[in-house]
Subunit: 220 residues, 2 copies
DNA sequence: TGGAATAATAAGGTCAGCCATAACATTTTG
DNA sequence: CAAAATGTTATGGCTGACCTTATTATTCCA
């Protein structure tokens, strides 16, 4: 079990690493973008986290989690997603706000509260955005899916999860019916990184590629 | 409704002001002691909070909340105590740890979560330590009681609330059966600020005066 | 292969909320 | 009423996590 005292900022970096792909090498730029800091700041912070043994940074290549970092990160993500479940299922908080509200709570949650919460919620396996919840022992089964942005025209898919975090993006997707469980089909992909045209339920929806990255789908 | 963004530290100062007596003039020293900072730091911070219009400081006399400060403080205390109820009633967290664990959560709680939580808990009026929970509209009915430290020999009283916050103090009192609802009698008060000897249930308990300050009682 | 994009590094700045030390003011108390 | 306790103010310092600006290094791609 992890015994480290992670700062709030550290937790955000770790969480971002998981959200950008648990085992991926992530560029400083992408990390900075996700965390809304400048690349220079991300670089500094990555050095600090490297010093703490949480991740490794290969200059000009990118960043990846160490085993220690992965463990800590899973713990953080577990807390985050458990709170999402609680806020949604029991407090009936608006779907699009779950991430942001759960995020603040996550940073403030002691291990015993995490586990008591998990028990209270009956050990849920997925958060309301469709993402898997790491287990108490640190095991974590990433989704068997891929971003909608990599889908090809004609494909019919099921939305597994929404990987976005900001309320506005979540609201945007929700308003268009792009939610976990939904079936969608790619009707058209505009050239030059243009938007996708999707069939979502009965409706046709245009979706920019960068938004499509947040939508994790599984081809049926 | 309060619209200010209060820092965590600010919230702790406001909370301490309520806990030391909503309408009392509190000395910098007492505040510093409760918050575990040096008097110099408390002084600085009090100046900052004064600048924000949350409290007034009369040099050499003490500090008291302004109306604005009282409103903000009640809000903070409401969140704190609602979380205590949740942690106790639903997550079955150890009584003595409630304050500390709820404290972290409190700082991370958005207004909509507070109100959804209150509804979920069915608008409780008291926290597990016996303290009243301020209402959503800011009204707050302090307890009609006084600290055990001011009781006189022979008095029989009911414990209304425990005003302590640290886990060790709460645990100490719990171990001696000094809990809300309990009836106690002062058998003896040692001179020179010495300890009280109490009858708690069947047992005799010695309790230092400074601990007795945390025990709010009502003479029967 | 050379220019664009991306990344790294350096230097210096900000801000909140603490700390210590020290000098000085006021209040309480014995 | 004097000494002790308490409170105030000033100065300077620290830390974490950001920021900007500027220079330099590397990688990617056309």
């Amino acid at each position: 079990m992890s015994l480290l005292q992670l700062s709030e900022s550290t937790e955000m970096y770790l969480k971002a690493m998981v959200e950008l792909g648990l085992s991926n090498v992530v560029s400083i730029g992408r990390l900075a973008e996700r965390l809304n800091v400048t690349p220079v700041s991300a670089n500094e912070m990555v050095r600090r986290l490297g010093d703490q043994g949480l991740l490794t940074h290969t200059p000009y290549k990118g960043v990846s989690l160490t085993d220690k970092g992965r463990e800590a990160a899973c713990d953080v993500v577990r807390r985050q997603r458990l709170w999402e479940v609680f806020l949604y299922e029991h407090l009936h908080i608006e779907w699009a706000k779950l991430y942001e509200l759960a995020c603040s709570l996550e940073h403030a949650t002691a291990p015993e509260v995490t586990e008591a919460l998990a028990a209270f919620l009956d050990d849920p396996k997925f958060c309301p955005r469709g993402n898997p919840i790491p287990a108490a022992d640190g095991t974590f089964q990433p989704l068997d899916g891929h971003p909608l942005s990599t889908a090809s025209v004609g494909e019919t898919m099921e939305v597994l999860a929404i990987n976005a975090t900001t309320t506005d993006v979540l609201k945007y997707l929700q308003e268009r019916g792009i939610l976990p469980g939904q079936t969608i089909r790619v009707l058209e992909a505009a050239p030059l990184q243009g938007p996708l045209t999707l069939k979502v339920g009965e409706k046709e929806v245009a979706l920019g590629l960068s938004l499509a990255e947040f939508v994790i789908v599984k081809t049926e």
